[in-house]
Subunit: 222 residues, 2 copies
Amino acid sequence: MYQYEYPHFAIATDVALFTLLGDELKLLLIRRRGAPFKGSWALPGGFLRTDDATLEECAARELSEEAGVSGFFLEQLYTFGDQGRDPRERVISVAYYALVPGEGLTLTARTDADAAAWFPADALPELAFDHAQIIQLARQRLASKLDYSTVAFQFLPDEFALSDLQRVYEAVKGEQLDKRNFRKFILGLGLVEPTGNERRGGPSRPAKLYRAKTGHRLEYFR
Amino acid sequence: MYQYEYPHFAIATDVALFTLLGDELKLLLIRRRGAPFKGSWALPGGFLRTDDATLEECAARELSEEAGVSGFFLEQLYTFGDQGRDPRERVISVAYYALVPGEGLTLTARTDADAAAWFPADALPELAFDHAQIIQLARQRLASKLDYSTVAFQFLPDEFALSDLQRVYEAVKGEQLDKRNFRKFILGLGLVEPTGNERRGGPSRPAKLYRAKTGHRLEYFR
DNA sequence: GCAAAAGTGTTGCCGATACACCCATGG
DNA sequence: CCATGGGTGTATCGGCAACACTTTTGC
């Protein structure tokens, strides 16, 4: 038994995980099985354990445990610690946002798969706790990071067509972009290179495929 | 005595408080009176208490208690929670940065004033914990926020000359700016208005004074 | 041959930069 | 009258937005 000089609190991480399915930005939600907010939709997340070496590790663990997802990009967003944001006791929540390529999602591999689902980011249900606020902040951050970093690549597999990348920008920003200007912009950054492969099979001209020069590391430009 | 389902942790806030003194960006440091890192310089900060309604309130309280400062702008920066960042026990630290006008600093009003001191932001001593990392992050954030927000006003009193504002930009970014272009930039934003007053008394032409149109609320442009 | 998506250049405009001199005051 | 900082305009350049047609494939 320990005696502490200062009060201690529960720490949690909550993660807003986005992906692109078709032309639409999607967000992963979990249906809560316990109180409080039992039956409500909420962000995946959970309490920090002593064997989580870092907060990020905690967030990643919850994402794979609760949602059966892996291979995501993860970045800290903001920390919420107001009194009363959790009705049980004071919980300090470190919010993250995460991105996965739309391809190869392993949601179905989970035992209780129906408890997790992708929602259109523009049509979310009522959410538990202050999760609506977290999501709003995550979307803002995401949209502004498109303008000065390579976050967009995190939505795509290693090989992608420029039109795939454009679909990411359009879905996240919620506006149409001019194809020629977009290509000039991306190629002008000098951060992608052709792989030499093409994507065939569609009823149209094959698309040249590219990869991020830096692998999938986040780069800042501007 | 309570039994918790999950482990609980100490939460702290640490604050990087900047001001402009003369032409130089300064950072406030506190000399630690207790273990660990006794005698080292550190950021002002301390543990979250149950009567702090918000994390921000905790940060503000510590700033006024430890440093005797008030009237600052305060914004959350990042949360550090790795194992081992505090040798005593695991401490989750929510880092903030804060800005005060160089005028009217009340540091001297403190009882143990010699325990707190302003250091040139470019010449800091060895620091306790991971505080050097926090400060580096704060400076980056600050410098980039100059480009798309009105944070700079937070370094200035209500009335200021355009050259004061320019000194802020130069100190934070660490580079000289062209006076004419700078004024065009600021006036072009349309976020300041002349107060009608002048600052006389120097051995030079009096400077017209301005105020932020929005009061001291943070605005985003671009 | 037709539907569907890929690919490709030029022009105009606006915002950012570079640059040097006169002005008003206090001492 | 001199030292100090305040105040002002123009020309150039480069990046960004607007804009439409041809190409390659699968069926």
